[in-house]
């Protein structure tokens, strides 16, 4: 899963083991490991307005999502949302719910929470990234393209965005790698002794 983290834990998840997506999963799973490390670093370095102990449900929900336990993650995050204080907590909860429902392949619910998360701020690239993936899975490619462009404008080098970009490309314009080995033309008849 391409998990994106925001401060201590906002998660973007790409889940859908459909044919074009399957090939990415190995990399995605690999990426998630390093992102867990990033999350720890981010937790240490972040200007923590919302400490991990402020909303333990939200924290536990995010941790559950990080380890792939989408059902518990969504349940805990919903509980965390009910007691969320402030915009940032709510925004994180909504964004994580988008990711969690995406993991559960409940795309309509995921889309709803992504839209809710984006209603708080237009700079939440993770929510755009998740929504782009939802659109790809729903085969709404134009909408996905728009969200990806927004993502790339906000965070040009986000790994998760690049992965969704690839998924979209594979859907819209699938390609086959071709490697031609051309032995016909020696560059020059250079004797080894000449060098």
């Amino acid at each position: 899963m391409p998990i994106a983290l925001w401060h201590w834990q906002e998660i973007g998840v790409a889940v859908k083991p459909s044919t074009p997506v399957v090939a990415l999963f190995a990399f995605v799973l690999f990426a998630s490991g390093s992102l867990l490390t990033e999350s720890a670093a981010a937790a240490r370095e972040a200007d923590v307005v919302l400490g991990p102990t402020k909303n333990t449900r939200l924290q536990d929900g995010a941790n559950a999502l990080l380890v792939g336990n989408a059902e518990d993650g969504v349940r805990l995050t919903l509980e965390g949302l009910n007691v969320a204080r402030g915009t940032r907590e709510k925004r994180s909860a909504l964004s994580n719910l988008c990711a969690g429902y995406l993991m559960l392949e409940l795309l309509d619910k995921a889309l709803f929470y992504c839209n809710e998360a984006l209603s708080f701020t237009e700079n939440n690239w993770r929510a755009y990234n998740n929504r782009a993936l939802i659109y790809v899975l729903q085969e709404k490619f134009e909408e996905a393209e728009q969200d990806l462009q927004t993502c790339e404008r906000i965070h040009p080098n986000a790994r998760q965005t690049k992965m969704v970009r690839r998924i979209l490309r594979d859907q819209v314009d699938p390609v086959v790698p071709v490697i031609v080995i051309d032995d016909r033309r020696p560059s020059r008849n250079t004797s080894v002794d000449d060098e």
Binding site: R166, V175, V176, P177, V178, P186
Partner: protein, 140 residues
């Protein structure tokens, strides 16, 4: 002098097996099962290619739809192993490492002792292309 029919038969069989083995060994090895590989001729004088390793299309290049070609030049020692492998021309650095490694892993027929090793630098060009999957499906 009349040849022994049995000996002739064995000799023919040996030759056939040798040709078959050479053919199998000379078949490019597929580094990436999803790639289409085309092998265009050879021009190595006395050095027969026994094992041609196909580089894997780099994931990043695939992701970013990068295409290009890399010409790798090298020499071949008596045992058939390439050495002095170096990139001579390259459209994009992303392909250089896989191209060099593919050449290093390739093998050529050894030169028997007593016979001179051709001291000619060889060059092999790898073209990394992306074709529309629909087009590729139509042509197969």
């Amino acid at each position: 002098m009349i040849a022994d029919p049995h000996e002739t038969q064995v000799s023919t069989m040996n030759r056939a097996l040798t040709v078959l083995a050479t053919y199998l060994l000379a078949t490019p090895l597929y580094a990436d099962a999803d790639s289409v590989v085309e092998y265009v001729g050879r021009n190595y004088g006395d050095r027969i290619s026994l094992r041609t390793v196909v580089p894997k299309y780099p994931d990043k290049a695939l992701l970013e739809r990068i295409q290009g070609a890399v010409e790798v030049c090298f020499k071949i020692n008596r045992g058939g192993k390439p050495y002095g492998v170096a990139v001579r021309k390259s459209d994009h650095r992303i392909f250089e490492r896989v191209a060099r490694e593919a050449v290093r892993s390739s093998r050529f027929e050894a030169i028997p002792r007593g016979k001179e090793v051709p001291k000619v630098k060889m060059c092999r060009t790898y073209h990394f292309r992306l074709e529309s999957a629909e087009f590729a499906a139509d042509t197969t």
